[in-house]
Amino acid sequence: MYKTRLVLQHEVRTILTSKSFLFSVFGIPLIGAILFGLASLLNQDTRASSVVNVLLNNPNQKQANGYIDQSGLIQNLPENLPPHALIAYPDETAARQAAAAGEIDGFYLIPRDYLQTGRLTYVTTDYSPLRDRSSSWLIEHVLRLNLLGSDAQLAARVAVPLNVELKPLAPDTQRDDDNPLTFFLPYSVAIAFYIVILSAASLLLSSIANEKETRVIEMLMSSVTPLQLLTGKIIGLGIVGLLQTAVWLSISYVLMRLSGSAFELPQAFQLPISFFVWGGIFFLFGYAVYASLMAGLGALVPNLREAHQATTIVVAPLIVPLVFIMILIKEPNGVVAVALSLFPLTAPVAMMTRLAAANNIAWWQPAAAVVLLAITTVLIVRAVARMFRAQILLSGQTFKTKLFFRALFGKN
């Protein structure tokens, strides 16, 4: 047990300090966060500046505009207005000269009868038929402020008079087929389970193949038994997989909080606590099965390159639920869906997809799937432990699919 713990600690430490792992855990969410943050910043002034507007406009432009106020309305400019963003000109001639000199992109002409008609003219040096109306957000903001007697708070309220929070009188528990969530919620669950199980199990394959390739395995064999090595790796890398999932979930949650959003699904799409309990159980057994299979694969392949080529054999059953995803979502209680969610190798992804797709799955079905998966886990771990023998680990022969299945079924 002591040596298993040493192997476990080594695996966890090695993975946690590897650059590629740190990038996948923190780098990818960070990139997502940056994109998310940028989108949020743009959304803060949705009336003022849309993404389309930003894309259409040249970022190198000064974005300076002028105005000629013939109505005498504008008395004050907003305090936080960037300098030279909006420049007052006494007459049209002066404004035209400034535009021709490139000092401003264009200018607004606010006529005397503005209060009666609401009309104004924008004269620009760069006419674009695709120019979004929202590009006039600044002058709109200035006019609104002055129309309201320079009361900034009132102007802000008039700009966004509503912040509606919807509360249904009687919660609708029936999912609407036209709602995109009907597809995307179970689809996201399927993809998430596929990625989490596969990425955690793949760590095991890489770890063993790497030790074989660098010949460390023989040094290890003189200190620990193959079973101690296998157990330490499965538990250690499982912890890493869970940690990675937890970090991803935490970062997603923090990002949503920072953006002022909350992950609140409509009543009909809310996932019960039992979903998360089943999720934990199916992850653990799913990981144990696939990590063991990957370990068996790692024991047979001579190097990392062949390891990655051979992965398809093991990953194939995990992909099957994704192939049948539409059936799983549209007919979660159909024959195909039930069969896939009971078959142990497809159960983790298929059953969780069904549980996310419908809230009327008979309780005995996930229970039966877990029992079958648990039995399979025991059988596969035993089979792989047999494969995980020094003789196989120390051999350097080329990988053959037939050899893998023969070894798995104890026929070599």
Partner: protein, 300 residues
């Protein structure tokens, strides 16, 4: 007392009999040579000794009994196919391998410091192993084998990839270990190194023991009837000498069957020849190895 006793072990892989009724013993505190050409069964024999492989038949006794988990911590093994983690620092790699041998972190760090200093690797301890040169990695491998201060050291080709200075350093280290009472089982193709270090040896070919015993005894056993001679002048015709061949500054005289080297020496003296060097010509281990492996030797 023997540190290792291998008794009639046999191991078959499919149709290949890798080890065929091999027996030998290694005395405690000795440096013992395990020799053989590629594919002779040396590595399989070692793996059986270490309980990595189970023999089909036969038994092994290591450090006074059957191999056990606890005994693994008393043995240092450097395999022929070297292996260190490439993507972690040298120090971490050494400490992890030592921890698997039951050495505490602090103790291992302290010992590693000494060994790294001795092998001129101290300034490289924070570098990733893959950043080290081949020779440095070889020295690191030797340190990893010795860091837990084993009682039995099994080293397979320890001099491979080392320059003369480092070769000498490793030789000194092995001698030092022997003086401390460590038993060393040395596998090498470099016969002059084995000759220099080993007291006894076993030579395996095609899984079978071809030679076994004290080095000197084996050399005498394979000695032809010949002498090496150095005189101050020309060597006169001598009775019983059938061939005379110059070997560097010496002359090798092959004697006829029944001719006695002492009679040759006496004749030379009586003829007034000044004899500067006279010795029985013993074959080198290289010569014996080739002779035995090519099938011209005596099979024990």
């Amino acid at each position: 007392m023997n540190a290792v006793e291998v008794s009639h072990i046999t191991k078959t892989f499919g149709a290949l009999k890798a080890v065929d009724d091999v027996s030998f013993a290694v005395e405690q505190g000795a440096i013992f040579g395990l020799l053989g050409p590629n594919g002779a069964g040396k590595t399989t024999t070692i793996r059986i000794m270490l309980d990595i492989f189970r023999p089909d038949t036969g038994t092994t006794q290591i450090l006074g009994g059957a191999m056990s988990e606890a005994k693994k911590e008393r043995i240092g093994y450097m395999p022929e196919e070297r292996g260190l983690y490439q993507d972690i620092s040298l120090e971490r790699c050494l400490l992890y391998l030592a921890s698997l041998k039951g050495v505490s972190s602090n103790e291992a760090r302290c010992r590693a410091q000494n060994y790294l200093e001795r092998f001129d690797l101290l300034s490289h301890k924070r570098k990733k192993v893959k950043e080290l040169s081949k020779g440095m990695q070889q020295k690191a491998q030797i340190i990893a084998t010795m860091l837990h201060e084993p009682e039995l050291l099994i080293v397979d080709e320890p001099f491979s990839g080392l320059d003369p200075v480092n070769t000498q350093m490793v030789k000194d280290l092995l001698r030092e270990q022997r003086q401390k009472g460590v038993t060393i089982l040395l596998c090498s193709h470099q016969m002059h190194q084995v000759e220099e270090l080993c007291d006894r040896l076993v030579l395996i070919d095609h899984g079978k023991v071809m030679l076994y015993g004290p080095l000197e005894q084996i050399r005498r056993q394979y000695a032809g009837n010949a002498i090496l001679l150095k005189t101050n002048g020309e060597i006169p015709p001598l009775p019983g000498v059938i061939e005379s061949v110059s070997q560097n500054s010496l002359t090798r005289l092959a004697l006829a069957n029944g001719a006695n080297p002492q009679d040759i020496l006496q004749t030379l003296v009586m003829q007034g020849v000044i004899v500067e060097q006279f010795e029985i010509a013993l074959p080198t281990l290289d010569e014996i190895f080739i002779q035995v492996v090519s099938g011209k030797g005596k099979i024990l």
